[in-house]
């Protein structure tokens, strides 16, 4: 696989407190099948939580390549990464 999958984790205060801090465990103990295929980036607040109606409730926000995951959790992010890996394998 040519490019690593970019995992951008929002570490703005609201996302961090709402759980992105825990998603960072991907840096230390990601499952073997994805560990060497991802690049993790700490992203500053992307203003996605500023939506007046939902506010922080939709966070934490994580991008896996260009796809946005709302109310992200470790599980959701890992599932999305696997999906992306599959996609790229099919394209090759």
């Amino acid at each position: 696989m040519a490019n690593k999958i970019k995992v951008r984790i929002c570490v703005g205060t609201s996302c961090f407190v709402m759980g992105s801090a825990q998603i960072q465990s991907l840096e230390f103990n990601a499952p073997d099948d994805i560990a060497d295929k991802i690049e993790i980036v700490e992203e500053r607040c992307m203003n996605l939580c500023k939506d007046i109606e939902h506010k922080y409730n939709r966070g934490p926000f994580v991008f896996v390549n260009d796809e946005l995951i709302e109310q992200a959790s470790y599980e959701k992010v890992v599932a999305k990464i696997r999906e992306e890996i599959k996609k790229e394998c099919n394209n090759e």
Binding site: G12, T13, F16, Q22, Q24, S25, R44
Partner: protein, 487 residues
């Protein structure tokens, strides 16, 4: 200790955010909506139904408002009323860990069970090694008689097929001092006489059934509804808890309404100086060893559970004590708020005349989220006093002993040992030191494995936090025995 990927602790954060928001919006006028907001009808329930989920949430909200669920007198009391009651308090609610009885799933009594992996072998080591003759062979498979079993685990150890498993009770397993036990109904209860307020049970319960009284609303009320000067004292474990620079965090706290922000690392510098001097004095008197005293959970455990170690515990006060003393010397009428990773600090604060309130990082995080403040975007502001490298390294295991050792230098042969985590085994180790001595003469005891960066009130992963602490230590000036503190 904070287990990553855990729904129970994530829900606790959400509850605190909702409560802070409810106060800031309308002083709890709509607080009774919180359980509904957190568990709308269309969600998949985590217990039998959403209504039970909401009932549990109401009790968890009570704790978030500083009430103890065990003290409920009328089930119809609303969260709005509990909120209004919380605002009438003039003193911090007493620290107390308690179990929400309807949330406790009454895990089966810790026990050993034979699984279907059992081959009913000829050797039958389980049966022969059982000291209570509790095992018999039924239908070609070993069977444990629960009335005879004493949970010694011998069968578990000797089975060649690993067919015997242990079913633990997570909170009982986590509690290092046996303070949490079952009642007749199988539900857990905490014995306040034995409890050391470490919070390990709270962090370990898979059902989120253990809560402690929050002081968050009390602090918010002091900030928003009184003219008093409110001072935040940030524990050195704060590094890495809120992405953005540490000085932006000072700016963020000012935005919340704190009048002044001081680092507890300054008090840790004082602790380092005094503890190094005390160590040399004790060694010259011929004492075999000394233990640190800055971890309040360990300090309490020593008083209640390890009386033989008491004479060896340092008399030096904690970083929180010296920091609060500085704060109150400068402004006796101010309100001092310790912000840290620790639940046991709430118990310590009750005996410290200079500390008015204790918040966890999680509670501070909830206040920031509810106030819509992003730390990273706040203006950088300086701390009112500057700390040294030694004080900054306290929150990571080995840090306190390292700081003290650096000041003892070559004045005495100091041999530090890290007691990393107050587990049942380490309590036995401490008892052994107290009665028979050991090879080292400086024992650093931290209740949380990894140090305060793994405390139950933390937000960040302990590994990330430890890195941030280390980077901050590197930027600090070196402390000497005569350094002036707090300038």
């Amino acid at each position: 200790m904070l287990i990553p990927k855990n729904n129970a602790n994530l829900m606790r954060t959400k509850i605190l955010i909702k409560i802070a928001e409810s106060y800031l919006n309308d002083k709890f006028a709509n607080a009774d909506r919180i359980p509904l907001d957190l568990r709308p009808k269309e969600t998949v329930p985590s217990r039998c139904c959403v209504y039970k989920d909401r009932a549990v949430l109401k009790y968890r909200c009570m704790a978030g408002l500083g009430h103890c669920p065990e003290e409920e007198t009328d089930e119809l009391t609303t969260l709005r009323e509990y909120g209004e009651e919380a605002l009438k308090r003039t003193e911090a609610p007493k620290n107390k860990l308690s179990v929400i009885d309807i949330a406790c799933s009454a895990c089966v009594k810790s026990q050993y069970v034979v699984t279907e992996v059992c081959r009913g072998c000829f050797a039958q080591p389980c049966r022969l090694n059982c000291p209570k003759e509790a095992i018999s062979i039924v239908k070609g498979r070993a069977h444990i008689d629960p009335d005879k079993c004493v949970n010694c685990g011998k069968c578990f150890e000797v089975c060649p097929y690993h067919s015997i498993v242990k079913i633990p009770v997570p909170c009982e397993e986590a509690c290092p001092v046996g303070a949490i036990t079952k009642d007749e109904s199988g539900r857990e209860h905490i014995d306040v006489e034995k409890c050391i307020s470490c919070g390990k049970c709270l962090a370990s319960c898979p059902f989120g059934a253990i809560v402690e009284r929050s002081q968050m609303i009390d602090v918010l009320r002091q900030i928003k509804e009184t003219d008093k000067k409110v001072v935040a004292m940030l524990a050195p474990a704060v590094l890495g808890q809120f992405p953005g620079s540490i000085n932006s965090l000072v700016g963020a706290l000012k935005k919340v309404g704190f009048d002044e922000v001081i680092e507890v690392a300054v008090g840790a510098d004082i602790t380092t100086q005094k503890e190094a001097a005390e160590f040399i004095e004790r060694m010259e008197e011929g004492k075999p060893f000394m233990t640190t005293s800055c971890c309040p959970a360990y300090f309490r455990a020593a008083q209640v559970h390890i009386p033989e170690i008491r004479p060896f515990v340092s008399d030096t006060k904690t970083p929180m004590y010296y920091t609060a003393e500085l704060v109150k010397q400068e402004c006796p009428e101010c309100v001092s708020v310790f912000v840290g990773p620790c639940l046991a600090k709430r118990a310590e604060a009750e005996y410290d005349p200079h500390v008015d309130y204790v918040l966890t990082f999680e509670e501070l995080g909830a206040i920031l989220v509810a106030s819509g403040i992003n730390v990273d975007e706040c203006p950088e502001e300086p701390f009112s006093k500057i700390s040294h490298a030694q004080g900054r390294q306290f929150p990571v295991t080995g840090g306190v002993a390292g700081a003290v050792a650096s000041l003892v230098g070559d004045k005495f042969d100091i041999r530090p040992e890290k007691i990393d985590g107050l587990t049942k085994e380490n309590i036995r180790l401490l008892k052994r030191y107290a009665t028979k001595g050991g090879e080292n003469n400086m024992l650093e005891v931290m209740c949380c494995e990894g140090g305060c960066v793994s405390g139950p009130g933390c937000i960040a992963l302990s590994k990330k936090a430890a890195k941030a602490v280390d980077a901050y230590v590197q930027t600090g000036k070196q402390l000497t025995p005569d350094s002036k503190i707090g300038e």
